[in-house]
């Protein structure tokens, strides 16, 4: 256990009470000694765990999970869980900074990383969700929602006092929360937000959508104020936003270092770690700690580049991947490295920053939430992908679309057609489930990736 925690950035100076808390949570999650061994091996195999900055990031993620699971025991009176919901990470951090009687967490991202990526134990959680309310094969729900329902049905997380979501990307999230309300009598709140925009409203965010979303987020905050009794001032939201902006900037800097590297400095299995970090609902102090960890990582990566080291062979074809790295399972990202494909970017992180800004923190949150690939209809998403390909100078696009996801599944073939036509580079279309390790088919994936690599080499050779 100590060794595993050391790999995850915990030091000897850690208070005994902190270690006891982690032990308690791991026990509750059913983590055995064997799992600890597996966890150590997976950390070494799938992550660049020698990087001290990365260890610090894992430490923050584990701490967030521990705090969430022990929230009630820690005396937090109100628990608010957000899921697929604009602005929740920022709002959550503001609630937590304001009062230590509230705990707020952005869906189960930290849970995905710890249970799924580190210990490889997400499948029983999915199965439990399927057992209690979603029969496998009966309804085509994505496994993301099962990672919300499973921990509640298994009693791993305390039931929250409010669940908040939005149907802005798909209706699966709101339907799931409806079911959880029926099953566990948990109050549910919805933030209005939608991705249907007129073509004329591109590029850039729509004022119309932003206004509606901002008003809805405000109503949610008023609701939180009414159940907690404290006030969330605009100044606090602005302060949190500023602190988060520094973290975002640090992560963008780090991504730039990676994008420009050859050999690729760090595998794409780390991408969801950065995503998780951005979604942590820590207090302002916690966000600053995360920023320091990323800055440290940037320096370590520069040193690694100077030594000529990398996670993929030098000169490997460069690829833009569609959809984020495996959220609960790093094996596909690892396989990409093994086959010799350098994933230099992911469409979800390639959205142009909003050029519109507002002094109203709610409007600012709503403007920013429209620029992400997932939240765009095809006529917004495809240009984003084409631009990203040009910017990253990629040799191909890995269109690994999340087959259970209502929001992305329909775009896959349109993306393939557009990229081939406009850029003349190979596109490999591959079905998978971003949250469900059972969809990982090593032989099939390896076959496809080896072919994809060949096609990119052939195509690049023809052009040069």
């Amino acid at each position: 256990m100590k060794e595993l925690l050391k790999l995850c950035g915990f030091t000897d100076k850690e208070p005994e009470t902190e270690l006891a808390r982690i032990e308690k949570v791991f026990k509750r999650l059913g983590i055995t000694d064997e799992d600890i061994e597996t966890g150590k091996q997976r950390l070494h195999k799938y992550y660049d765990i020698d990087l001290q900055g990365l260890r610090k990031v894992f430490r923050l993620i584990i701490k967030e999970l521990v705090n969430a699971i022990l929230a009630k025991e820690d005396g937090r009176e109100k628990l608010i869980y957000g899921f697929m919901c604009p602005g929740i990470d920022l709002l959550g951090s503001a609630f937590m900074t304001k009062s230590d009687k509230v705990f707020s967490i952005h869906h189960s991202w930290a849970f995905h990383i710890v249970i799924g990526c580190i210990f490889g134990k997400i499948v029983p959680v999915l199965e439990d969700a399927e057992k209690t309310w979603l029969k496998a094969g009966a309804v085509a729900h994505c496994a993301n929602v099962k990672t919300i329902a499973g921990p509640l049905s298994m009693g791993l997380f305390p039931n929250p006092d409010m669940l908040v979501t939005s149907a802005y990307t798909c209706e699966t999230s709101s339907k799931t929360l409806d079911i959880l309300h029926e099953l566990y009598d948990i109050p549910v709140w919805y933030i209005d937000h939608f991705k249907d925009r007129a073509i004329t409203e591109y590029p850039g965010p729509s004022d119309r959508v932003a206004k509606l979303t901002a008003e809805s987020i405000k109503r949610f905050v008023e609701k939180v104020q009414s159940i907690t009794g404290f006030e969330i001032e605009d100044d606090l939201l602005i302060q949190v936003k500023e602190t988060k902006r520094k973290l975002e900037k640090a992560i963008t800097e780090m991504r730039k270092i990676v994008i420009n590297s050859d050999p690729l400095l760090i595998s794409s299995s780390h991408e969801n770690i950065w995503g998780c970090l951005l979604s942590l609902t820590s207090t302002i102090d916690g966000i600053e700690e995360a920023t320091d960890a990323i800055n440290m990582l940037c320096n370590e990566l520069k040193e690694k580049a100077a030594r000529g080291e990398g996670d993929v062979e030098k000169g490997a074809p460069r690829v833009l991947a569609i959809c984020p790295a495996g959220q609960t399972d790093p094996r596909l990202e690892y396989l990409l490295c093994e086959v010799g494909i350098a994933v230099v970017g992911i469409d979800f992180t390639m959205g142009e920053k909003s050029k519109k800004h507002s002094d109203d923190p709610y409007l600012e949150m709503a403007l920013g939430s429209q620029q992400v690939s997932l939240e765009l209809p095809p006529y917004g998403r495809i240009p984003l992908i084409i631009n990203a390909c040009k910017k990253l100078k990629v040799n191909g696009v890995l269109d690994r679309y999340h087959v259970g996801c209502r929001a992305v599944v329909a775009d896959a073939l349109l993306i393939e057609e557009a990229v081939k036509k406009e850029l003349g580079i190979p596109v490999m279309v591959m079905e998978w489930e971003n949250f469900d390790p059972r969809s990982y088919n090593h032989q099939q994936f390896k076959n496809r990736l080896e072919i994809f690599r060949e096609m990119m080499i052939e195509n690049t050779g023809n052009k040069s």
Partner: protein, 262 residues
């Protein structure tokens, strides 16, 4: 002389060759059974025996197909598409489009002048367009799979299947049997349905001539005729089911040379 083994573990049959100085010295096909590791070990033993050489004479072994993690003596496991491309170049160096029709999946590979894969299309999730459809129907008709091709060529009135799906196709075949439709017409209908599914894979990549068919599907003369009926005039190499194993042996030779040069 240095020898190389190429092994292709298929869902129904396991195929192997031993090569030396670019020539195929021996080739063997055995049923895969339910244990790929056992099949691979048996195949290797039979290959060595047939070639009259021992394990120590083998410079490198490469494998493809199923059971990547199960074959203990493999130096390298390579995807079927890469092996197919390499193998077909070995026997037909001019080929630009190859249809690899296997028991559980089919793929169409487009090759550049240099023999690299320039495009690819596969149906490895659904059994339609694979040999599985034929296996299902030949079981219903109680005929040996090897007789499917010759028998289907005797058809004068092929059945039109409304589906390329192996599951729905099975019930359609049963209905035709119940109606008393001759076996050869049912089989010719299955071949036509398979060919049309394969033609859509060919369309995905865009056909360039010359074209070849390999895999077990290459042994079915009726299917080759159905493909020709759709404008896909394909050559069939001798022993088409061995192409991927030959490709694997070529890779084994390349790896061995690379290792020597290091």
């Amino acid at each position: 002389m240095r020898y190389f083994i190429g092994i292709d573990i298929g869902s129904e049959f396991s195929k192997g060759v031993i090569t030396g100085e670019g020539e195929i010295l021996t080739q063997i096909v055995i049923p895969s059974g339910i244990n790929y590791k056992t099949a691979a070990l048996k195949l290797r033993d039979e290959l060595l025996k047939s070639a009259g050489i021992s394990e120590e004479d083998i410079a490198c072994t490469a494998t493809t197909g199923h059971g990547e993690k199960l074959i203990p003596f493999s130096s390298r496991h390579i995807s079927t598409a890469l092996c197919c491309a390499k193998g077909i170049r070995h026997v037909f160096p001019e080929v630009r489009t190859v249809l690899d029709i296997q028991g559980q999946s089919s793929q169409v590979i487009k090759l550049s002048e240099k023999g690299r894969i320039s495009d690819h299309s596969v149906n490895d999730i659904c059994a339609s367009g694979s040999g599985y459809f034929l296996t299902v129907v030949s079981n219903i008709l109680q005929i040996d799979i090897n007789d499917v091709g010759p028998l289907s060529l005797k058809s004068s009135n092929p059945v039109t299947f409304t589906t390329g799906c192996a599951v729905f196709g099975e019930s359609e075949a049963i209905s035709r049997v119940a109606e008393g439709t001759p076996k050869e017409d049912i089989l010719a209908g299955v071949n036509n349905a398979l060919a049309s599914r394969l033609a859509s894979l060919v369309n995905d990549v865009g056909m360039e001539m010359p074209c070849a068919v390999c895999g077990g599907g290459g042994l079915n003369a009726g299917l080759i005729k159905s493909l020709a009926g759709l404008g896909i005039e394909a050559d069939v190499p001798p022993n088409p089911q061995l192409i991927n194993a030959i490709g694997a042996a070529c890779f084994a030779e390349e790896y061995s040379i690379t290792a020597d040069n290091k």
